[in-house]
């Protein structure tokens, strides 16, 4: 086996040093009744080229871009990944390293994460960001738990326009606790309706998503004012499309206290939904209540600048029973990818790209409206929006699959009241020709 270096001679010499007669004798500390009786029944090992064939075969039937035109976002976005991001990420010193427990020989990872924290803060308008969470959904669950710790209150409100899968994960995290989640309704314009907020009692936090699941840009400024009418209630903003903040007012400017979301858009392949990148940031006073790792700047013995993991006492290392969260690993390599992406984009690039995403989505929206298919909501949107299609569109949608077009996501399973609605998405990876092609097909 090519990954295992030992020759028969090596094994014999080593067994001699160890004082064992054979390899089985190495396991003498395991009682007989704990030893496995039957060999594992696994397939014969594949050679490298056999494995290539097997995987190519499995991948061949997948409906992936660029062969397939996917007008579907809903928390996973098809953006160009610059070749430098892909290649730099394969630098094996980044790639095959572990958590930087030994800072002197991990400065590459540590400085990159420090840069990541900084760029995420600048993107979201926040004071501190952690070194990443698993994904947008678990990030939201952790944000709500953090608000509960900070406010000492047990009820949280979450907008119904937050990604339904994120809300499902929140439900799972909250199930064994005595904390309560209440939902805020969606108004006719596609934005969260705050009119009933006052009747909900004492809230640890109110969580919105912007752009929300329907692609609508929430009015975060008014939301912040309404939420902060109670000074102890925290304003949590989630997102699934960070690229929007190349163009939109960021959550920090609008008064958010905790911001969390999915960073897959920034240089990370969609990869059937994972790994992604949970971005997580907050205001300075809450730093010690934050979950996850943090990297801080310091100096070495000679006064040279360097970076270390810091504030680790919040984690499991020191007071196991008192840890504020069980997060141990993070999405380090994905955070690294997004740092490379943000660096390659720059402020100028991200603004232009963000605008192009919106403009192409608006072009599709206008083209569909011109063909008689109106948007379901009136609020402004970013790169996805909800459109109503006449009865029978499901058949058209199915027929388009055969032509390698995925014409949006049907909302019926998620929102029964929107059973004639589809969530459409356009990124820079879809061009005008593709859009014209789709419009032609659906109006056929």
């Amino acid at each position: 086996m090519r990954y295992l270096p030992h020759t028969r001679e090596d094994i014999e010499q080593m067994l001699q040093v160890v004082g064992a007669t054979d390899l089985d004798a190495l396991f003498s500390s395991i009682p007989d009744d704990c030893l496995r009786k039957k060999e594992m029944n696994l397939p014969e090992p594949l050679t490298e080229w056999e494995l290539n064939g097997h995987m190519d075969h499995l991948a061949a039937g997948m409906g992936a871009s660029p062969a397939c035109k996917v007008f579907m976002g809903a928390g996973s976005y098809n953006h160009y990944i610059p070749e430098i991001t892909r290649q730099l990420l394969l630098r094996s010193e980044f790639f095959t390293a572990y958590t930087p427990y030994q800072p002197e020989i991990s400065q590459g990872t540590l400085q990159t994460i420090f840069e990541y924290q900084t760029l995420v803060c600048r993107l979201l308008g926040m004071d501190v960001a952690n070194a990443s969470m698993y994904d947008g959904a678990s990030g939201l669950a952790e944000a709500l738990l953090m608000a509960i710790r900070v406010s000492h209150r047990k009820k949280v409100a979450v907008s119904r326009a937050v990604h339904p899968l994120y809300r499902k994960v929140v439900e799972t995290y909250f199930a064994p606790t005595d904390y309560e989640v209440v939902e805020l309704p969606v108004g006719v314009d596609g934005r969260t309706d705050f009119s009933g907020l006052k009747d909900l009692g004492e809230l640890a936090c109110v969580a919105l998503q912007s752009p929300n699941f329907f692609g609508c840009i929430e009015d975060l400024e008014s939301a912040g004012k309404a939420i902060h009418a109670d000074k102890k209630t925290l304003f949590v903003t989630a997102f699934s499309e960070p690229l929007a903040y190349g163009l939109l007012k960021n959550p920090g400017v609008c008064g958010a206290d905790i911001v969390c979301g999915e960073g897959q858009s920034f240089g990370i392949p969609q990869s059937f939904g994972g790994p992604g990148l949970g971005m997580f940031a907050a205001r300075q006073p809450y730093v010690r209540a934050m979950p996850g790792r943090l990297v801080g700047k310091t100096v070495d013995r000679d006064g040279k600048t360097g970076f270390v993991l810091t504030l680790a006492t919040r984690e499991q290392h020191i007071r196991r029973e008192k840890a504020t969260s069980n997060i141990c690993s993070n999405q380090g390599l994905c955070a690294t990818a997004s740092t490379m992406y943000m660096a390659a984009m720059g402020g100028t690039g991200i603004r232009e790209l963000s605008r192009l995403n919106r403009d192409r989505a608006e072009y599709l929206k206008a083209s569909l409206a011109g063909a008689g298919y109106a948007s379901a909501f009136t609020a402004p949107t970013f790169n996805e929006f909800v459109v109503r299609f006449p009865e029978g569109f499901s058949d058209t949608w199915q027929a388009l699959l055969k032509k390698k077009i995925v014409a949006g996501l049907h909302l019926a399973p998620w929102y029964p009241e929107l059973s004639d609605c589809w969530l459409m998405c356009v990124t820079e990876a879809i061009d005008k020709n593709d859009i014209d092609g789709l419009v032609k097909e659906v109006t056929r």
Partner: protein, 484 residues
Amino acid sequence: MKEKMGTTGLIFNEPLLWEKGSPGRKGLSLPRRDVAEAPLDDALTGDGPDFPDLSELDVVRHFTRLSQWNFGVDSGMYPLGSCTMKYNPRTNERQASIPGFANAHPLLPPSLCQGALALMYDLQGYLAEITGLPAVTLQPAAGAHGELTGMLIFAAYHKHKGKVRTRVLIPDTAHGTNPASATLCGFTAVPVKSGADGVLRPESVAELMDEDTAGIMVTNPNTLGLFEKNIRQVAAIVHEKGGLIYCDGANMNAIMGIVNIGDIGVDVLHLNLHKTFSTPHGGGGPGAGPVCVTRQLEPFLPIPRVVKEGNSYRLDEDGPLSVGKVHAFFGNFGILLRACCYILSMGNHLKQASQYAVLNANYIKESLKGHYHLPYDQPCMHECVFTDKLQQEHHVATLDIAKRLMDHGFHPPTIYFPLVVSGAIMIEPTETESKETLDQFIDAMKQIAREARQCPDCLHESPQFPKVRRLDETAAARKPCLRG
């Protein structure tokens, strides 16, 4: 090679990203603008983020230089105990980057994602075969996330049985995240002391186990690198009171093909795919932490689940007893894929991987015995634990030994863990290190033991060769500077 591994090389300085660049530079080409600009309300429009503008070469050099300040498995031996830093096969990267997988949207209709579903279904089967626990979820995104899922299953199971239980027993030789995972699910973590031989005593468990206790979280092999040999008796005691056995499977690398976890009384087990199944750790993640359970607990696994009907696969959302979802989509599919490829290229050689991992650890243990204090002198599994007791009389501590190893060209072992051993040095060589490399490591460790006697200050002054020397972690925590 006679010379030591570590040496000095040309190390470049490199500023922070925003200290580089010039406004207006671009590091990538943007797609052509082929549609008109759409107006947006000024009240919603922001200024855009204050990111530096860099050229493509600026970015390439920046991250290439940063990477050179890092030590990875590809740089040298990385015997970080309990982290299983084995070789990451390159072929797995090729497979993960096939466009059909890399560009796949997670909400594709089943007809367009059969390949991904088939891979997940197969992987579930392989993990069930390896562990002996028949039902598997691939959703948890990391080991600790798997622990959390396991504890959610504990909670859901007992609730279904009609009684909410409040406590979970956790041995002092279990992994560090276990108590926090239990606490997150509303349980009180109750510590259990291990016996003088470093393993759980059934009597200790019997004393603490009652009908308010949901079960026990055992790490097996434990963090001392020892097999919990009383696991069957422990399981009987816990089951007798209606509790469940959770096994933290982070150390599975020692027992593949040797122990059938399902047969020894375990009800729930998580695996760290990034450890045992060779996926790159990436500076701290992403990992993947599938959870395997008995048939009895299958209904509680997260949804959706991949099922096979005839020759096709689909996602089943139906699960009235399920704990729900723990990840927005299906978990870290890209990591699952790499682990599956590793299993496919190893087959039954996985057993050899475990045998060699254990051989390597015992070889190091026997070779360094006498040079370093060995608190539990008995056959170990895939890792062995020494202490700094013999070096203390020269005022040399575990930290100094670890830092000196860097100068010799090795990543230090895990230090000061497990907490039950004072000044612990926990070495896990893994099966992919050759005898020559192990011999070089052993030589380096012996030389450091000599230096501790002859020139303790050489150790206090180490490391000498990396880009920075010992860093002030106290100052970093006292006045945190977390962004530039």
